[in-house]
C-alpha cells in the first residue's frame, strides 16, 4: 500500500493561511521515548473527536517505545490537557497536528484514529510525513451521521445542534473489555468543537499528501462507528485495502486486543521505513 493516488492537486496559493493564521493554544503532548531509537522515525498519535492524548498513553505509547519507536501523542485543542479556543474548526486541529509534528526532532509518522484520521489526512497536505496510518478512520459525510443516529440517537442528536457527541459503550469497545474499565474510559471522554463536528458532515476532501508518504488504513469489521464500506472507501483512496482486526470496537487502542493492531502498524513501519 504505497503511493496514494493524489486526490486533487496541490494548491500553491493559500491566502487563508497567511491572512488568517490559526491562533496558538497550549498543546498537551504525552511522550514515551526509548533509550535508543536506532534511526526509527518518531510516531505522532492523533486521537479522534472527544478523546485526548491519554487514550494512547494507556497502552500504545509505551508499547511503541518498547519496540524502539519514539512515541508522542497530542491532544487537539479543547481536548485533554490542551488549551481551548472559541471558533475551533477542522483547520485548527490540522494546525495543531502540523505544529506538533514540526516540533519533533525528526520527520514523523502520523497516526490518526477516528476523526483524528481525517485530521491526519488533511495534515498530510501540509507536512511531508515519513508515513501515515489511518486507524478506524472517520472521514465523515451524511452516511456517518445516519449510522451514528441509527446506533445511538440520544447521543447523536445533540451533536447535530452543536451539543456534544456521545457514543455508547458498545460503539466504542468490543465485548471482551470489562464493563467497569469501559465506563471509566467513557467518563474521561470530552467533546469536539461544535463547528468541527458540523464540518465532519460536510467538508472538502483532503488535498493530496505532500512527499508521497506510504499510507496504511486499518480498522475493525465490527466497528459500530465506521462501516466496512466507509473503511474500504478510505483505503481505496490511498490505493490499497484495509487491514482488519475482527472483534474489536471503534476504540482500537483501548480495547482488549490493543496490542494486535499496534504490532501490525509497527511491523509495517519497519518494512516501509527500514
Amino acid at each position: 500500500m504505497s503511493r496514494p493516488p493524489g486526490p486533487g492537486r496541490t494548491r500553491l496559493v493559500r491566502h487563508r493561511e497567511v491572512a488568517f493564521p490559526v491562533p496558538a493554544v497550549r498543546r498537551e503532548v504525552l511522550t514515551a521515548v526509548p533509550a535508543d531509537a536506532e534511526g526509527r522515525p518518531p510516531l505522532l498519535f492523533v486521537p479522534g473527536f472527544g478523546a485526548g492524548a491519554w487514550v494512547f498513553a494507556e497502552h500504545w505509547l509505551d508499547h511503541a517505545a518498547g519496540r524502539g519507536f519514539p512515541a508522542y501523542a497530542v491532544s487537539l485543542r479543547g481536548h485533554g490537557g490542551s488549551g481551548r479556543h472559541p471558533r475551533t474548526t477542522l483547520r485548527a486541529y490540522v494546525h495543531d497536528v502540523v505544529q506538533t509534528a514540526c516540533g519533533l526532532p525528526r520527520q514523523a509518522v502520523l497516526v490518526g484514529h477516528g476523526a483524528g484520521a481525517l485530521v491526519v489526512a488533511m495534515a498530510l497536505s501540509r507536512y511531508p510525513a515519513r508515513a501515515a496510518v489511518l486507524a478506524a478512520p472517520v472521514f465523515g459525510g451524511p452516511a456517518t451521521a445516519l449510522r451514528a443516529l441509527w446506533r445511538h440517537p440520544v447521543g447523536t442528536l445533540p451533536a447535530l445542534v452543536g451539543g456534544p457527541l456521545r457514543l455508547r459503550r458498545g460503539q466504542l469497545f468490543g465485548r471482551e473489555l470489562p464493563v467497569a474499565e469501559a465506563r471509566a474510559y467513557q467518563r474521561r471522554m470530552g467533546r469536539a468543537a461544535p463547528l468541527a463536528q458540523w464540518q465532519l458532515l460536510a467538508h472538502r476532501a483532503p488535498e493530496r499528501p505532500v512527499g508521497d508518504p506510504p499510507v496504511l488504513v486499518l480498522g475493525s469489521p465490527d466497528d459500530a462507528v465506521v462501516s466496512g464500506r466507509a473503511l474500504g472507501r478510505v483505503a481505496r483512496r490511498y490505493g490499497g485495502a484495509p487491514l482488519l482486526f475482527p472483534g474489536m470496537g471503534h476504540a482500537l487502542m483501548l480495547d482488549r486486543g490493543w496490542r494486535e493492531p499496534l504490532d501490525a502498524v509497527l511491523d509495517w513501519l519497519e518494512k516501509v521505513t527500514g
Binding site: R11, L12, A19, R106, Y127
Partner: protein
C-alpha cells in the same frame, strides 16, 4: 524557455579525471534556498551533494558567517505565516515578526528534522561549474581557504548561492578622495557601534530605513537619511494586524490592481499621513509599483527629530558630503545601504544570460535559458516572504529534472508550453526603476505561474 539540447545523456566520458556521481544533483549553498532545494530533491528521489563554503547551515541568516549582512537587532519584515516554508511552518508561539536568530534556529531545525546535513559538504567552496558532454556537469570544489581542487560530475546543478551578500557600492564623484569612514550596510553588525556618532545613511530601502531607526534608537549624535526619491513607508501593522496579512486578504478578494492601489493609498493616508510633513519627498509612484518598504519606526524617529531626511548625495569632498540641493554635511560615518548584487563567478555568464549590468535573464527567474539541467533557486525579490516561493520553485525544479533526466522526449514536447509560460510578466504593476527591481515579483502572480508549471509537469509524468 528554449533549451539547446546537448548530445544523448550519458555520453563518452571526458578525458579529465572527475569522479562521476551518476544521477546525483549538485546544490550550491546551504542557506535557506539550498536547504529547501536539498530537501525537495531528496524527497523526489534524487541523490544530492550540497556544498557550502561555511561550516554550518543558514547562509546569510547565520550572523557568524563572514558574508552575513544581518545586524544584531534585525527582525523580519514579513510576518511569520508568510515567511515559513509551506510544509514546515514556524512555531505558532513565535511573534508576528521573528528575530533573525529565530530564523536561523528555524533553518537549523529544518535541516535536522529532514536530516539534511548528511547531504551537505561544509567548508567547501565551489570554484567552477561547467557543462560537459551529454548534458552533464563538472563541479570543481576546493576546501575553503585551501588549495586542493576536486572535480565531481553531476546530472544537474541547482545554484542557491543567494543574492544578499555581495555589496553593491555606488560610484559617486569624489568618493576616492573622501577621508571619512565609509562602510556598506552589511558591515554594520552591531547598531550600538553607532552610538554617539554622526551617521549618514545613503539609500532608503528596507535596510537603510531599519538602520536609520536603529541609529536613532541607539542615540547616534546625528542621523541623516539620504533618499533619491519618495517612497511609500508601509507600517508593520494596520488595523492591529501585520500588514502583509491584510494585503493577503485584499489579494484573496482578487480586486483589480487600481482598486488595490486606491485602497492602500487610503489606508496609508489614514495611518501614516502625508510624508511631506516629516520632510520626506512625496512618493513619485503608486503603491505596488516599487519594492515595498516596511518600517514603522522610521516615521516615529523622524517625528522625534532623531532622523533627519536629506536629499540625494551629489559628491564627496575631503571631509564633507555634498547633497544635490547644495547642503553640505560632515558625518563621521557614511553607511551605504545601497543593496547587493547577485554573483555567479563559478559559472560562464552566458549560461545564465547575464547582461553587462550583471543581471541574469532566466525563464521564470529560475531556469537556465541554455541548459535544461541548470537551475537557480531563490533569485527573487518578492512582495512577501521568500521561503514559500523558493519551496515551490525547488519542487518545480525537482519535478522538471525528473522529466528532463528520465524522459527527454517528454521534456522536449513540453517546450512550447513552457516557453509561453516563461514569457509572462511576474509583477502586477509596471515597476518604477525596473532596472534595479529586475527580479521583483508579485508573490501571488508568481505562485500561480509555478502552479501552472507544476500542473504541466504533473501531466507529463
Amino acid at each position: 524557455m528554449s533549451f539547446e539540447y546537448g548530445g544523448p545523456v550519458g555520453g563518452a566520458p571526458d578525458w579529465r579525471s572527475a569522479y562521476d556521481r551518476g544521477d546525483t544533483v549538485c546544490v550550491i549553498g546551504a542557506g535557506a534556498s539550498g536547504l529547501v532545494a536539498t530537501k525537495n530533491l531528496v524527497e523526489h528521489g534524487f541523490g544530492v551533494d550540497c556544498y557550502d563554503r561555511e561550516t554550518s547551515v543558514g547562509g546569510i541568516w547565520n550572523w557568524r558567517h563572514d558574508r552575513s549582512p544581518v545586524y544584531a537587532t534585525a527582525h523580519l519584515i514579513s510576518s511569520r505565516p508568510a515567511t515559513g516554508f509551506p510544509d514546515f511552518p514556524m512555531p505558532d508561539s513565535w511573534p508576528d515578526y521573528p528575530h533573525h536568530s529565530q530564523v536561523l534556529a528555524y533553518l537549523q531545525r529544518y535541516a535536522d528534522h529532514f536530516d539534511l546535513r548528511r547531504h551537505i559538504w561544509f567548508g567547501t567552496e565551489v570554484v567552477r561549474v561547467r557543462p560537459v558532454h551529454g548534458g552533464r556537469w563538472e563541479v570543481t570544489t576546493r576546501s575553503t581557504g585551501g588549495y586542493t581542487e576536486r572535480t565531481h560530475r553531476y546530472a544537474a546543478v541547482v545554484v542557491a548561492n543567494g543574492h544578499h551578500w555581495y555589496p553593491h557600492l555606488p560610484e559617486i564623484e569624489g568618493l576616492d578622495g573622501y577621508t571619512g569612514e565609509t562602510v556598506h550596510a552589511s558591515a554594520v553588525k552591531d547598531p550600538t557601534s553607532l552610538r554617539g556618532r554622526r551617521v549618514l545613511i545613503v539609500g532608503a530601502g528596507n535596510t537603510g530605513c531599519d538602520l536609520a531607526a536603529e541609529a536613532a534608537a541607539q542615540r547616534a549624535a546625528a542621523c541623516w537619511l539620504s533618499t533619491r526619491r519618495g517612497y511609500w513607508y508601509i507600517p508593520k501593522y494596520v488595523f492591529g494586524r501585520p500588514v502583509d496579512q491584510v494585503n493577503e486578504l485584499v489579494l484573496a478578494a482578487r480586486l483589480p490592481l487600481r482598486v488595490r492601489q486606491w485602497l492602500f493609498h487610503r489606508i496609508l493616508r489614514l495611518v501614516v499621513g502625508d510624508l511631506r510633513r516629516f520632510g520626506l519627498p512625496r512618493p513619485d509612484h503608486r503603491v505596488y509599483e516599487s519594492h515595498p518598504i516596511v518600517n514603522s519606526q522610521l516615521i516615529y524617529q523622524l517625528g522625534h527629530g532623531r532622523v533627519i531626511p536629506v536629499a540625494d548625495v551629489a559628491r564627496f569632498g575631503r571631509t564633507t558630503v555634498e547633497l544635490v540641493d547644495g547642503v553640505s554635511l560632515e558625518p563621521d560615518l557614511v553607511v551605504f545601504a545601497t543593496g547587493y548584487l547577485p554573483r555567479f563567478e563559478f559559472l560562464d555568464p552566458h549560461l545564465l544570460a547575464i547582461d553587462d549590468a550583471g543581471r541574469p535573464h532566466l525563464p521564470l527567474h529560475m531556469f537556465s535559458p541554455r541548459e535544461p539541467t541548470l537551475a537557480v533557486a531563490g533569485l527573487l525579490q518578492p512582495d512577501s516572504g521568500l521561503f514559500p516561493l523558493v519551496h515551490w520553485q525547488t519542487v518545480a525544479i525537482a519535478r522538471w529534472l525528473r522529466v528532463a533526466l528520465s524522459d527527454p522526449p517528454a521534456a522536449a514536447a513540453l517546450q512550447p508550453r513552457l516557453a509561453a509560460l516563461a514569457a509572462r510578466r511576474w509583477h502586477d504593476a509596471r515597476l518604477r526603476d525596473s532596472a534595479r527591481h529586475w527580479f521583483e515579483v508579485s508573490h501571488v502572480r508568481y505562485l500561480r505561474g509555478l502552479q501552472r508549471l507544476l500542473d504541466l509537469l504533473e501531466r507529463a509524468r
